[in-house]
């Protein structure tokens, strides 16, 4: 789960990490008020779940409360399109109004869980302010890593190693070590999947300040962090994905094609999308119905397809294991009874309770295109979407 920058910064501040003076505003009037209160040059930052804001006008530096008002009104209520969003962009409903900092150096600091060592890793670099992937390409020697033993936590020697790696000196080494220790504590306490401060700046007054912050959280651990769950801004997410979750379909991702897919299992669902493309079509979504004991999620999947105006044909590909084919078949029949299905539906069934599932579909009299296997299903749905098969 993602949160906004202003929320991430509030969490950093709770853990003793210095952030610029500032507040979040929902209206230009509020932005003016905050800018007046700060009294100096301020920065107006659009609050969206996407990086790359600076390059597309999402961050504005202004010199007066009047300019702050103007900048805020140019951002609030618009949609921001960055390289990390789709062409439709993401809505800006809040801006962060912050005191502009006098920056001497820009550094990078992050923590994530490394899949190979299976340990949290703290990464630091003196090349801050740009994407770390770019630094990894152009100057990998500037990235320093310290793997953290969860049994003993982050240790001062690790902080010193990273601080010296960022070419900090004197009192800044101790300050940086304390900051890293606090960031690790936050990472563990809140079950983060990513904690990134980029840039972490050294100010003209030689203080360390988190100028930007990104915190992502482990979805599987949200059950034990009600405070974090409440921070979620649904407006920032794809409406179809929010709708799917509200209907109990947790594994739904919008894609850019016109073929609706309903599959059980994430690997199979990805493979179905791949195969559709191989056959010359494009999937409109990734949808893993998971394991189910009732027909609701099947019916709701069809509601999703109807709610999506792009859909020209649907492929149902089920290999029953935990999920039983007869339950899926019942769900499909219920969907046909409850709604008018305006597109051709290709169905491929295999696995647990297959015969019973096939009998249910046959006896229902519903009209669908039967596929004998995985490939046949993908091929037929691509043809159906083109209008070649009805």
């Amino acid at each position: 789960m993602k949160i906004h920058e202003y929320q991430a910064k509030a969490l950093l501040a709770q853990y003793g990490i210095a952030i610029p003076r500032g507040k979040v505003a929902s209206t230009p009037a509020e932005a003016t008020e905050i800018a007046t209160e700060i009294g100096n040059k301020v920065v107006i930052k659009a609050q969206v779940y996407a990086g790359g804001r600076g390059k597309v006008g999402g961050i504005k530096i202004v010199n007066s409360p009047a300019e702050a008002k103007k900048a805020a009104s140019q951002l609030i209520g618009t949609r921001l399109v960055t390289h990390q969003t789709g062409p439709e962009g993401v809505p800006v409903s809040k801006v962060l109004v912050e005191e502009a900092s006098n920056v001497a150096r820009e550094l990078y600091l992050s923590i994530l869980v490394d899949g190979t060592s299976r340990l949290p890793v703290m990464m630091a670099s003196e090349a801050g302010g740009m994407e770390i992937e770019e630094v990894a390409q152009s100057a990998p020697e500037k990235i320093f890593k310290s793997y953290i033993d969860p049994a003993i936590g982050f240790q001062p020697f690790q902080g010193r190693k990273l601080a010296y790696g960022m070419n900090l000196d004197g009192g800044q080494v101790g300050e940086a070590t304390r900051l890293m220790t606090n960031l690790y504590k936050l990472f563990i306490d809140k079950d983060c999947s990513l904690a990134e401060i980029n840039p972490l700046v050294v100010t003209a007054g030689e203080k360390l300040l988190a100028l930007d912050a990104k915190l992502n959280f482990d979805d599987n651990a949200l059950y034990r962090h009600k405070d974090i769950q409440e921070l979620q801004d649904k407006e920032q997410e794809e409406p179809l994905e929010i709708q799917a979750r509200d209907w109990g379909i947790n594994n739904y991702v919008k894609m850019d094609g016109d073929i609706g897919c309903m599959v059980n299992g994430a690997g199979l669902a990805m493979a179905v999308n791949d195969l559709i493309q191989y056959c010359g079509g494009r999937a409109a979504n990734f949808l893993d119905i998971g394991t189910l004991n009732n027909t609701d999620r099947v019916v709701n999947s069809f509601k999703m397809f109807i709610a999506d105006p792009r859909i020209k044909a649907v492929l149902v590909n089920i290999f029953g294991g935990m999920a039983r084919v007869d339950v899926i078949a019942k769900g499909i029949v219920e969907a046909y009874q409850q709604m008018n299905i305006p597109f051709p539906v290709v169905i491929r069934l295999a696995g647990t309770n297959l015969e019973e599932g096939q009998r249910i579909l046959a006896e229902s009299g519903i009209s669908f295109i039967r596929a004998k296997d995985f490939y046949d299903g993908a091929h037929k749905v691509v043809e159906a979407a083109k209008g070649a098969v009805k």
């Binding site: 979805d219 594994n251 199979l268 295999a350």
Partner: protein, 291 residues
């Protein structure tokens, strides 16, 4: 032969009295697996599906000689369940549970380093040695005893691949679902090592997916240490970056996580790449034919 589980496996089921635990334990027994014990705290001394239930794994092992555990414990308690199993010294834990917090697994992995227990999963369909032992939730009937080893990060995609193999008359030595999480207990490399050492495994089918670098590490192992042929497929060529595709571990966060990079690494290592997920069986048949 086979790897991990066989006729000598005496299975213990953690969470045997729950609805999923009951459902799948029954199917394991029907398949012929020796299920010798169940563990559910608070239900020790009872009997479930004809299997004695114990409060602790230590007691269950002492009384029944169980040498492998199959886990159906809810995500919030699963890490503790794995730790208990490792502390009791059971050689193999197969964890089916989906949704365990990553930082819980970080602590579990740290603890397992000092123990002899091998963990398969979590978030996996389990381990199956056809005709010998089913320690998992996979469909029994689609398997056929034979000499192809299967390793996969996915559940149902593996069922599809296994049924392709079986319908072509290609049997399996063991099928191992290592799971869809970002931090699996056993990696592709861990299982490739076992298949390489297993006399009765002639070839290996590897089903990878986007996210992480496990396929690249497998490629490294295949090119330097593996003498048996490997057929591979990587799911998620069409997955958009930054989106989690159902599995906790299936998210492209850098170029290494892309399917194309993984396919390239595996191909350069000498693995034969199946062009589509529907052709894994046929590709394996060709590779076996040229042996």
């Amino acid at each position: 032969m086979s790897i991990l589980v066989d006729k000598g496996t005496k299975l213990l089921v953690q969470g045997i009295t729950g609805s999923e635990g009951s459902f799948h334990t029954r199917r394991c027994i029907e398949y012929g697996t020796k299920v010798v014990a169940g563990v559910t705290p608070g239900k020790g001394g009872s009997n479930h599906l004809g299997v004695p239930v114990f409060n602790t794994i230590e007691k269950a092992m002492a009384e029944t000689g169980a040498n492998a555990s199959l886990m159906f414990v809810p995500p919030a308690f699963a890490a503790d369940g794995i730790l208990e199993a490792a502390d009791a010294g059971i050689p193999l834990v197969v964890c089916i549970t989906e949704g365990i917090p990553v930082l819980d697994m970080v602590r579990v992995h740290r603890y397992l380093k000092s123990k002899s227990t091998r963990l398969i999963g979590p978030n996996c369909p389990g381990v199956m040695s056809p005709g010998k032992c089913k320690a998992g939730i996979m469909v029994g009937e689609i398997h056929l005893p034979g000499s192809v080893g299967v390793i996969s990060r996915s559940g149902t995609l593996t069922y599809d691949v296994v049924s392709q193999l079986t319908s072509l008359g290609i049997g399996q030595s063991t099928c191992v679902g290592i799971g869809g999480d970002a931090l699996p207990g056993s990696t592709f490399v861990d299982i490739l090592k076992l298949f390489q050492a297993d006399q009765d495994t002639k070839a290996v089918v590897l089903i990878g997916e986007i996210g992480g670098t496990m396929e690249q590490e497998a490629a490294e192992f295949i090119s330097h240490k593996m003498t048996k042929p490997v057929v591979a497929f990587v799911a998620g060529s069409t997955a958009p970056p930054g989106k989690r595709m159902g599995h906790a571990g299936a998210i492209i966060t850098g170029s290494a996580g892309k399917a194309s990079e993984k396919i390239k690494a595996l191909s350069q290592a000498g693995a034969t790449i199946a062009p589509t997920p529907a052709e894994v069986g046929l590709t394996t048949k060709k590779v076996l034919g040229s042996l």
